[in-house]
């Protein structure tokens, strides 16, 4: 079963074709990696899935339902969570506040409810939320820094908080845009472990953009390769690694730069 299907998406900015007829899918409970040289269109593809960019044509389907026209904030309610290539935490807030914002979708009450009418369902709701928060915080080992303002944390920790905030949403589909970029070996190992743990525990379907090939090989069940906004290959990490077109895409860029 595919949680996500991307069907023939094209996206252009003025004259730049960021994506051309891109199709791919993410199988339930699996980790699918999206790789490709810089500027290949990986982040743009995530932005189409999140609803930030409107594709010129093509469709995005979630569990078989077309969501191409769904507004970005509604997609969070459909179970799509993500992290950003440049850490996008709410500066000035603590780790806990940031993580709590991830749980925004789990509370239904309108603006006037304001926590005044602490009815039974509301209490249950917030108990559930607190339980999820505790679970995620302890899984990601963030207990000791919960009350620190996020901007005081190291880059690696900030990325971990961002992952926690996405996990608190209990997403059906988790989009990770270069989750270990800029981390040292040890931090990379830890974060990979957290991703696997989360998948194990909640059967989350993961879509992963990553330049670190070691990590891609270790984690992903399937790899999709983009180059200049087009699909050039897809398969197991072994197949992709030995695909001549993939090799030349990476080598070509390396030579050109």
């Amino acid at each position: 079963m595919d949680v996500l299907e991307i069907d023939n998406i094209s996206l252009s900015f003025g004259g730049v074709n960021a994506l051309t007829d891109v199709s791919m899918s993410a199988a339930a409970g699996k980790i699918t990696a999206v790789i490709g040289p810089n500027g290949a269109g990986k982040t743009s593809l995530f932005n189409v899935v999140s609803g930030f960019y409107k594709p010129n044509h093509g469709a995005v389907r979630m569990a078989g339902v077309d969501i191409t026209a769904v507004r970005p904030h509604r997609r969070a309610f459909l179970g799509i969570a993500r992290t950003f290539q440049n850490v996008a935490l709410f500066r000035g807030m603590t780790v806990l506040d940031n993580i709590k914002l991830g749980a925004h979708t789990t509370l239904r009450s309108g603006p006037l409810a304001a926590g005044v009418f602490l009815g039974r369902t509301r209490r249950e709701e917030s108990a559930l939320r607190e339980q999820i928060e505790r679970e995620v915080i302890s899984l990601l080992e963030l207990d000791h820094i919960r009350h620190k303002p996020v901007q005081e944390l190291s880059y690696g920790l900030q990325k971990r908080v961002e992952l926690a905030r996405a996990l608190v949403m209990r997403p059906k589909l988790l989009l990770l845009d270069e989750p270990v970029a800029g981390m040292n070996r040890e931090e990379k190992g830890e974060l990979s472990h957290f991703i696997l743990e989360a998948r194990e525990r909640w059967q989350t379907t993961v879509l992963l953009i990553e330049h670190d090939m070691g990590m891609v090989m270790d984690l992903s069940d399937r790899v999709v390769v983009l180059n200049f906004g087009r699909n050039i290959a897809a398969g197991t990490s072994y197949e992709v690694k030995h695909n001549p077109e993939v090799i030349s895409a990476y080598l070509g860029r390396a030579e050109a730069s």
């Binding site: 904030h73 935490l89 709410f90 914002l101 603006p111 304001a114 926590g115 949403m169």
Partner: protein, 290 residues
């Protein structure tokens, strides 16, 4: 000394209403980095609506207040929807210009409907002076202060503890990420206009009760803009304090130097603060990433 203290108390009392007006500016600024230059006119129209309800229709003041707030909110939502929403993402100057234009239109329409002379507002505030120990404070001003402070406290508590308040802070920090969290950013924008409408309706009625009612009632909001700059545009606590400071400064310079100094005081204060602290007394300095 006694007189100086009395002027000080009077000024601080007047500053309470400034703080309420300033809150209306800041809440919109926080969410969408826009100044609503029609804030003063929203106050003025509200004051007239209240006047019509209470004087012309003879309704009870509470009914009048409820109708006024409803009309004010409606106007704010229409403005947000029709002129602001389509302009989002344009340069700030165009946003400022459309609110400015809307304000001028509202003032013109008010002159046509209600004439440009001043009317006397029937006050629901008692005139009995309030004695603070030895200090004598005019009744209306003291009670307007109490009302303004109550409304400000209510709104601030709402921001602090409601989910909408959390969503507003998130939107202020990062809109794109807020969308990803499932926050309806457009609804938050609309909410900030509603809050501004409420603070505008109440401060408009208070202003008209203390002074008098005319289409130029809203011009006071420009002085308040100086307050907002003084306090730091993104700091709710900062502008509340600044509101009180400016009220005090106006009263004290008016007393010491003569009333012609009153109106320029807020600007001089804002200028001096900006020269030394570019982000206002309490504003947060954006951290530049290089």
């Amino acid at each position: 000394m006694q007189i100086f203290l009395e002027y000080s108390a009077l000024g601080i009392a007047a500053g309470g209403v400034y703080a309420l007006i300033a809150l209306g500016f800041v809440v919109i600024f926080k969410a969408s980095q826009t100044f609503n230059f029609a804030m003063g006119e929203m106050m003025m129209v509200s004051a007239y609506v209240y006047f019509m309800c209470v004087v012309l229709m003879g309704w009870n003041w509470m009914v009048g207040l409820a109708v006024t707030i409803a009309v004010s909110v409606l106007i704010a939502l229409v403005m947000e929807r029709l002129i602001l929403r389509p302009m989002l993402g344009r340069p700030i100057i165009s946003l400022v210009m459309v609110t400015f234009g809307a304000g001028i239109m509202m003032r013109g329409i008010a002159s046509i409907i209600w004439g440009s002379d001043t009317d006397q507002m029937p006050s629901f505030l008692s005139r009995d002076p309030v004695m603070l120990g030895e200090l004598f404070i005019p009744g209306k001003t003291a009670r307007a202060f109490a009302v303004a402070v109550a409304v400000v406290v209510g709104l601030v508590l709402y921001f602090r503890y409601s989910r909408a308040g959390v969503a507003l802070r998130a939107t202020a920090a990062d809109q794109t990420t807020s969308f990803a969290m499932g926050i309806n950013v457009h609804r938050i924008f609309a909410m900030t206009w509603v809050i501004a409408a409420i603070s505008g309706a109440i401060s408009g009625i208070l202003m008209a009760s203390i002074n008098s009612l005319s289409p130029s009632l809203g011009l006071v909001a420009l002085n308040v803009l100086a307050v907002v700059i003084l306090g730091g545009m993104d700091s709710i606590g900062g502008v509340l304090v600044a509101g009180l400071i400016v009220g005090w400064l106006e009263a004290v310079t008016g007393y010491l130097l003569g009333s012609e100094w009153r109106d320029i005081t807020p600007y001089i204060a804002a200028l001096l603060v900006l020269l030394t602290r570019p982000h206002g007394l309490f504003g947060t300095k954006p951290i530049e990433r290089i």
